[in-house]
Structures are given as structure tokens and as C-alpha cells.
Subunit: 384 residues, 2 copies
Amino acid sequence: MKTIYLDHAATTAVDGTVLKEMLPYFSRRFGNASTLYTLGHESREAVERARKQIAKLINAEPNEIFFTSGGTESDNTALKGAFLANAGKKHIITTKIEHPAILQTCKWIEKQGGRVTYLHVDANGIVNPQSVANAIGEDTLLVSIMHANNEIGTIQPIEEIARICREKKVMFHTDAVQTFGKIPIDVKKMNIDMLSASSHKIYGPKGTGILFKRNKIWIDALMHGGGQERGLRSGTENVAGIVGFGKAAEIAMQKMKSEGEREKKLRDKIINGLLKIPKSRLNGHPTKRLPGNVNISFEGIEGESMVLMLNEKGICSSTGSACSTGSLEPSHVLLAIGMTHEQAHGSLRLTLGRETSAKDVGYVLKAVPEIVDKLRSMSATWRE
Amino acid sequence: MKTIYLDHAATTAVDGTVLKEMLPYFSRRFGNASTLYTLGHESREAVERARKQIAKLINAEPNEIFFTSGGTESDNTALKGAFLANAGKKHIITTKIEHPAILQTCKWIEKQGGRVTYLHVDANGIVNPQSVANAIGEDTLLVSIMHANNEIGTIQPIEEIARICREKKVMFHTDAVQTFGKIPIDVKKMNIDMLSASSHKIYGPKGTGILFKRNKIWIDALMHGGGQERGLRSGTENVAGIVGFGKAAEIAMQKMKSEGEREKKLRDKIINGLLKIPKSRLNGHPTKRLPGNVNISFEGIEGESMVLMLNEKGICSSTGSACSTGSLEPSHVLLAIGMTHEQAHGSLRLTLGRETSAKDVGYVLKAVPEIVDKLRSMSATWRE
């Protein structure tokens, strides 16, 4: 049976060109980038080349890019690092629909004496920039608002929010894990102070990410040690991973426009097809939405049962975010956009990627209604 | 020109078998280990297999192994995690010769209100267990002492030290980055509570490490988020890296005894050969020493010049630790064993590994004396 992978927001397969670029750095070019001999210099050069590739994608300077082990580490570094380096200001503003890497980090900061405002979002998952402006006070240190939501795909007006922050002299961080390499980002034009991104969401390897940090922003390190990454992130550089991330960023930049348009068409075909199912609704904004994101709820259905039955048909999908799978709590994002616990349990997320074809979409549009029918017919509570 | 790599303490090339094992997890088996479908299950199983392979090497339970991005993260997690989870006890004991990942983390803990004792070592770099016992007080939370030193190769009496800690109900952590997979470790028999290890020192990929944490020990997470690794280490699992580390641990276990004996013989051949050079001395313990570690000082020589000239002859070597290369400060380890600043600058570290041959040793024993002669003849200060 063919696998139809529709969980690109969780992770992606490494692109063949990316892997090819990485391979020499496992074997022949394995040097530690911090050493003095030629083998080490080659690794250093490879790391710096990747830094440029990544900087270019978001219009940053290469020395504003810091390699980490992934999006979670970048988020933790940005928030804890800002909090610990700025003892005078204790207030952070974020939203109720952030990724757990932000929300759980905020919980930690609260335990350390910080104060966090979790902003509401509207029914489409949009944060009102005015609510950010209203929440900013004398002791506000940082605003952290994700660029696009990992579950419902809603894209936030971060340019407007960041402008407000810059005017009020408050740091602005964005978790761009879902948008980096997928929709345009210009950190200069958009007044972004810090940005988190991850390699494995854009066909690069797992275990590598970046924190972009504007040169005028000062934060503490999360990890201390040998002083790599100009003291912000100690630990031997994951050279092969970094090389892969760099190449993945380069490819993403080339493909962004055409692939975005292609995915958007397929996405809307799925959305329109699935909304024909009775008592279904689209979660997230209808147009301000990631090109590859579909999130639909079906009344009377358990999302988890749906994912398992789709798996039987070779389709990889998710309900809630992959990161919180295993938990019985309904998605905090779906609750935040006003759904009931019951409604939130019945959501299906399908996230498209480069290998998603029109044929796959046809297959999905046949499989999902059948499964919804079957699950509803088995349900004791379902009434049409 | 052939490259003779003698910097295995800095990093190693990924073993061919290890890389082969990793490859499917970049492409075909790329699933996120936290997802519900088959592709995710395969990744989950691979991660758990690796956890068993690693646990076996140190006689731990698989659920006591937590994957991290490397030794630095493991050290940071152990120390900061213990400090933050135990508000009542503020005192940590370590040594003056730890890796920067421990020393810089201790500096951070001091800034957060902790108190740290940095124990002296003797001229061979050995910590006296009695000095640990003497330093333990009412508010001592944790003792962290490296298993073997990365620069001078001295192996510490950690079994004796850990026994003292267990008796006094103080946590014991060891940075075993240089010994894991190279000399026997039994966390149960040795009363170790926490242990850090890294993949890329044992022919596994960079960017992966573990923290072993005994089940009865409670620490805070360093990174918060999706709750992976049972809440201790959030972030999408680096499946390929973890698979590689697991395989590397399995191979290391098989080869440990024979390879250790082989390296020890070559090591002693180099040591005895180089000590024939006038005004040279061995740094570190003559016998309680890592099988692959040579560290020798030559009076009147700059270590860095030596490394660069050896590079011209295709030999990869180091002076001080690779992690602090680029700094002009002499090695804190060499200062701690009683060397002057001048002596400490003149040290050469050669660390052997699986591909080091008797022929390589012959080449080194010819090259080093020539370079020492040349550098001394160029030196304004050198007097024989």
C-alpha cells in the first residue's frame, strides 16, 4: 500500500539533494569546526556557508543566525535568555495558541517570578494587534507571537504587531517554525528582533534549528560551555545537520513561490471537498492560512479514531498537534478559538507538502467521507 | 597527502555501519516519533531500540536514558536541573579541571545564588576522594566530577567518590563524555546518579547525546515544550541521530576491550618516543589514563605553532581542548595541575582512535621531534 503523507507540519522527509550535501560531513569531512587544522577549517567553512544560506532566506545578516538543536531550543533560548538577561523587566506577552515550546517556557518563567499575559485570539485564530498594544506596560520586556499556527494554520499580522513593539521599545520574537521557507519573511522590513526556525519542517534533518537574533538585542545563553556560536550556544556544532539545514533553506527559497501556489490549490480542493460532509467546519482563517494546512472538525467524531482509520488506508494525518499526541486533553488552540471540548476532539489536520499530488487529494476526498460515515454510524451519540 | 587524525577527543568520523543504520531515517522512515500512524511508530521503535543499546553499555535501565543534543546539553541539564528542582540546597562541588560545559554552567549557577566549590587536583590531575568528603556540607546538593579529563586523559576515582556521595545522600553526576564506550562504566555498581555522554566521540553523529538519570533523582527540564523524553527534554526527537548513537554504542561495547588495549600500546609508544625529546614532560597520570590520550609539553614551544606545523604534515592534533581553541588563555586544566602559563602554552594533545595504525605512530614519532627542533631553533627565548 502506498503511503500518502499529510503530516508535513509534524515533520518532513529529508530532500535527496540535502542528504547528498550532508553525507561527506559524516565521514570524510568530519572535523570539529572549532579546531585549528585543515579538516576543522573545512567544517567551519561549511557551517558559515549554511549560516549565509539561512540568513538570506529571511534577509538577516549571517552573524545574526545562531544554530541550535531545533525550534524548541530556539524558543526556550529566546524567552528564557531575554528574561534572564533583563532583570528589570518581568512582563512577557504571548497568545493562548502558541506552540507548547513557548507556552511551557512561559510557565517556567512565571515560576521564576515573571509575569505573562496570554492574549485571546478571535474565532479564526487571529491576534488583534491593538490587544498587543493595550497589553504593553512599563515592565514589558518581550512580545512573542507565532508567525503561523501549527494546528490551524492561521497566519498572524506579525508585521503590524512588531511595528508596535519597535515603537514601544519592547522586544519582538516570533516562532516561525511553520512559516520559515514557506511564506516570505524579511526580518528587517518586518521589525523582527528574534525568530525561531527548524530544519526538519523544510525537508532538512531533525535536530537542527536556528535562532535569529538582531545584533542589538542582548540575551543570556541557555547552554553554557565551550562558547560556540559566539557564546550564545555552546556545544560541538552539528556540522552535517547544519549543512543540511543550509541547503534545505536554499532550496526552500527557490521553490517557495511556485510550491506555495501549488499547495494552496490542493489545500482548497481538500477543504472544499471535505466541507461537503454534513456538520463539518473549517478551523482557522479561510485565507490568512498556511498554503499546506487543512484543519476540519466533524461533529460526533473522535479525531484520534479518524487518524487511526486513515492510517489503515495509508494516510498519515494528525489531530491536535503532533507534539501533544498521547495526551487526552483537547487541543488548547481549538479551545482558544471558541470550540467546545467535544468539538475540539473531532478535528483532523492534514498538512500538505512537496510530494503531495492531485491524485493524493482525490484519494483523500474519497477516504475521509467514508470514514466519517462509518465512525458516525458506530457512534452512540451521533444524531444527524 | 594522507591525513593522520589524532584528535579523537575532539570528534570522530561516523562509523560506516552507523551511517548505514541512520540513512533510512532521513528518507523513507522519516516519521515524527510522537505521531499515531505507522510511520511514526517505526521512528518510535527505532528511538526505543537505541535507548536500550545505550542503557546496556552502562548497565542502566532504558527508562533512565534521556536523549539530548550532546554532552554540553546533558551537563547543563544535570546541573541546572538539579539546582532548580531543589530550592533548599544551594551547594555544588566540582573540580578545577572540568570541561567548560560544567565550569561555565557552575558560573551561571553562582549568578543564580548557588555556591560552588572547585576542588584542587594533584599534579597528575587526580581528585582526592577525601577532599570531596571534606567539602560536603549540610546544604550540598550535588557533586559533579568528570570520569576522565578531555585534555590530559586522567581517569578519576569516581567509584570511590560516588560511594561517599551516596552515603552522605548527595547526588553524584559525572561528565563521561571521554569515557563512555571507551572504558567500562556500570552506573549501578558505581553508584552514579547522573551521567552525560555524547555520540560524536564514539564514531556516532554530532548533535546527539544522553543524560542518564537514575529514576529516584528529580531534576527540572532545561527545555520546555511538547514534553518529549517524558517531560525532561522537549523537542522533536532527532531520530536518525539517536539511531546512529545507539548503533555506535553497540559497536563501542563490542570493541571496547580489544580496542582499548590496542590504543594503549600505541599511546605508550608515542609517549615513550616523545619523552626522548629534551625538556619534555607528560601531562596527566602515567597509568590512570584514557587508552588513547597523549598530552606532552615541550619547553620553549607554542602549542598552537606546533598544531599548525603538524597540520602541514597532515597530522591533526590539538593544544588545550578543542572547545576553547581560539582563546589565548592557557588551558585551565594544565594550570590546575601546577604548570606555569608558559609551560601550559607548550602542550600538545594527540588522541588516538580506531583508525590509528602503528605506521601512523611511526610517522608522528618522526614528525614531532623535527618540528620541536625547528620551533626551538626559531625561538628567541629557548635555551637548551
